[in-house]
């Protein structure tokens, strides 16, 4: 009897829900909201929730409200895989945004490809979209674009011998591979190739070795706090060689941790969100960046981060694809592939069957840290 009543109640709920609301556009999201990659997942989740609210307040997409089903993967690929299956089988989502890290994305990718659900990853690893799979996309610019930006600038300054100092995690080792390839391609010399652990607290040994190798410039590739320690150690050792950082530290937090005095003169490729108040008014992204930052500050009380932008762009791209093509998984997929000049937080996206990222060198600005702030350099 009890069971019957339960079934009845559930049936009522399901039916009433179906009749009262218009069928929503249901989009899944996998973010590492807690755990070691929480600095990625948290702004991504915040941004997505904010943007969904904003879209629905404006009447949804073609009259359909958007519903985001967000799960926390805690940065664990196994969990990401389980949750992806849950999103597809139970929540019946038409597309998935995330996961936040390259490792999780590579684990989830085979499932979304098999189930034919478009996956728009918020992770930067180049492996995600190279080689291209019809169902997998990503919004962060490839690491090698950031690397190329650095090397183009450095070559312009006549620097020929480089030392690499990379963190021994996914981000660092991917950056290390890309940079080594780029150096070889451009005929530049690699004189030292050192690594450090994500939680290491002193890099003077590596830097001493690098100094002895006599490079023209040092390129450090990592995310906080490692690069901040490197920056302080460079000052401690009195090394005067130009220091480049990756886009992974393009936030004020890095300057704060490294201290403005030690960070003075450090150069890095930064996404335009970092310098949104310094780019030209004519920049196609200028307005969107200003609005995103203002909205984020208003809702969460902190400045918007590049990472949140990855989720922002992913949803924008899906919305654009739905508007162009229709709301089924297949239509979204082919719509994404036809993305052309969609202005986002990370850059201006133009995708094709052979390019599932759609960003180029214009996604970054080279900046130099001057008096604790960013200054754009040409």
């Amino acid at each position: 009897m009890r069971k019957l009543a339960m079934v009845w109640m559930v049936l009522c709920l399901v039916l009433s829900a179906g009749t009262v609301l218009a069928e929503p556009l249901r989009i899944g999201a996998l973010f590492s909201i807690t755990g070691p990659a929480a600095f990625l997942g948290e702004p991504e989740k915040n941004t997505l929730e904010m943007l969904v609210k904003e879209i629905n307040a404006k009447g949804g997409v073609k009259g359909q409200p958007v519903e985001a089903v967000i799960y926390d993967t805690t940065g664990d690929p196994t969990k990401a895989v389980q949750l992806a299956t849950k999103l597809i089988k139970d929540d019946k989502v038409v597309a998935i945004i995330g996961p936040s890290t390259t490792g999780e994305t590579m684990a989830v990718k085979p499932i979304t490809e098999k189930e034919q659900i478009p996956l728009i990853s918020c992770a930067a690893g180049i492996k995600i979209t190279d080689p291209v799979n019809p169902w997998t996309f990503k919004t962060p610019a490839n690491d090698h674009i950031a690397g190329e930006k650095i090397l183009n600038y450095a070559v312009g300054k006549g620097q020929k011998k480089f030392a690499l100092l990379t963190v021994s995690d996914g981000f660092g080792s991917s950056g290390r591979e890309q940079l080594k390839g780029l150096l070889a391609k451009k005929g530049l010399e690699l004189v030292a190739d050192e690594t450090f652990g994500p939680k290491d607290t002193d890099m003077t040994a590596q830097l001493t070795k690098i100094r002895a190798a006599g490079p023209d410039a040092i390129i450090c590739w990592g995310t906080n706090p490692g690069p901040a320690v490197v920056t302080r150690n460079v000052k401690q050792l009195g090394i005067k060689i130009p220091l480049y950082m990756s886009h992974g530290v393009a936030s004020k937090k890095y300057i704060e941790l490294a201290t403005p005095e030690a960070a003075e003169g450090v150069m890095l490729p930064a996404g335009k969100l970092t310098v949104f108040d310094k780019i030209k008014e004519s920049d196609p992204q200028a307005r969107l960046l200003k609005e995103y930052d203002a909205a984020y500050r208003k809702t969460f009380g902190v400045e918007a981060s590049t990472f949140g932008g990855y989720a922002y762009d992913a949803l924008q791209l899906i919305v654009a694809a739905v508007q162009k093509n229709g709301a089924s998984s297949d239509q979204i997929r082919s719509g994404l592939e036809q993305t052309s000049k969609v202005v986002g937080v990370s850059g201006v996206f133009t995708m094709s069957a052979g390019d599932h990222n759609g960003l180029d060198l214009s996604a970054f600005e080279m900046v130099r840290i001057t008096a604790g702030d960013w200054a754009i350099i040409q």
Binding site: T34, P36, A38, F39, E42, S168, E194, T195, F196, G197, K199, D200, T201, D202, T204, A205, Q206, T208, K209, R211, A212, N224, P225, A228, V229, R232, K235, Q236, L237, G238, K253, E256, L257, T259, E261, A262
Partner: protein
């Protein structure tokens, strides 16, 4: 820059890092010596010290010295609470059970710290400036001098404490035989609590003096705890010089390994040493083998 300058930089950097490991290792040794427990939550007290320091200094704007004392106090109280709530209720548990409880406790403390203070990395200002000091062709920061000085001070104090005070002697008695210590009128429970107080306070001090250099966040305790544990193992879990030498050796070998072999193997060096010691000289490098009387 010639080779000898490189070597001296490696050694000095290694000594500086090693002194940190030594301070953390001492906390392990103190608790082990009075309770027989290896407290894997020791790294979390280091984290708590740093985070409380940041909290009092940057959120409440106390000056650095006051923030430092408050942080040590709060971390020490957390240590006592940890003992009261997690260790004492299970006095009859096996050593293995207690060790596992300390691991569980450390995960809990880390989780709470994450919830309360967030996931960001924080830095404290240095105690006396950032101007590097030159020493034998190598450079160090004034903060490193603080680390050396405080480490030496703590070793001397703890040596005096364990040798010459009643409480210190009582703690040592508990280490030898808790039952016998109880029979001669030592309040064993209080001594255990006291050892947690000491160890967590010491860990917290380590956490604060390294925070300006290495920065701190809710999850720094794991790696620092492991390195401190290695230092204590190399030193044979001694309360004094052994653990300190263990820490210094570890730091120097790490720096030399990173500089001369490859930085990719830096942590591997630590754990290879740990394994070798555990296999070949489980009693530590410096102590003679202990004979168990039956």
């Amino acid at each position: 820059m010639d080779f000898s300058q490189q070597i001296s930089q490696y050694i000095l950097s290694g000594l500086a890092t090693g002194a940190i490991y030594a301070l953390i290792g001492l906390g392990f040794a103190i608790i082990y010596n009075s309770t027989g427990i290896i407290n894997f939550a020791q790294g979390e007290f280091v984290m708590l010290g740093g985070m409380f320091g940041v909290y009092f200094h940057t959120v409440h704007n106390f000056n650095l010295a006051v923030a430092l004392l408050l942080a040590i106090l709060f971390a020490a109280v957390s240590g006592v609470l940890f003992e009261r709530l997690a260790i004492r209720p299970l006095r009859r548990a096996t050593p293995l059970g207690l060790v596992i409880i300390t691991i569980g406790g450390s995960i809990l403390v880390r989780g709470l710290a994450m919830l309360v203070w967030g996931k960001d990395t924080h830095a404290l200002p240095t105690f006396s400036g950032d101007e590097p000091l030159s020493l034998a062709g190598a450079t160090l920061l004034p903060q490193h001098m603080w680390i050396f000085a405080l480490t030496v001070l703590l070793i001397v104090l703890s040596k005096l404490f364990f040798q010459f005070t009643i409480t210190g002697k009582a703690l040592r008695a508990c280490a030898v035989n808790q039952r016998a210590a109880g029979l001669v009128g030592i309040d064993v429970r209080r001594m255990v609590m006291f050892s947690f107080l000491l160890a967590s306070g010491m860990g917290a001090l380590a956490g604060i003096i390294i925070a300006p250099l290495t920065m701190t966040s809710y999850d720094v305790g794991i790696m620092l705890g492991l390195k401190g544990f290695c230092a204590a193992i190399i030193g044979g879990m001694s309360n004094g010089l052994g653990t300190v030498l263990g820490g210094l050796i570890l730091g120097v070998l790490e720096a030399l390994g990173a500089g001369l072999i490859s930085s990719g193997y830096k942590d591997a060096v630590t754990f290879i040493i740990l394994l070798l010691i555990l296999f070949l000289r489980p009693q530590g490098l410096f102590s003679r083998g202990e004979s168990e009387r039956v």
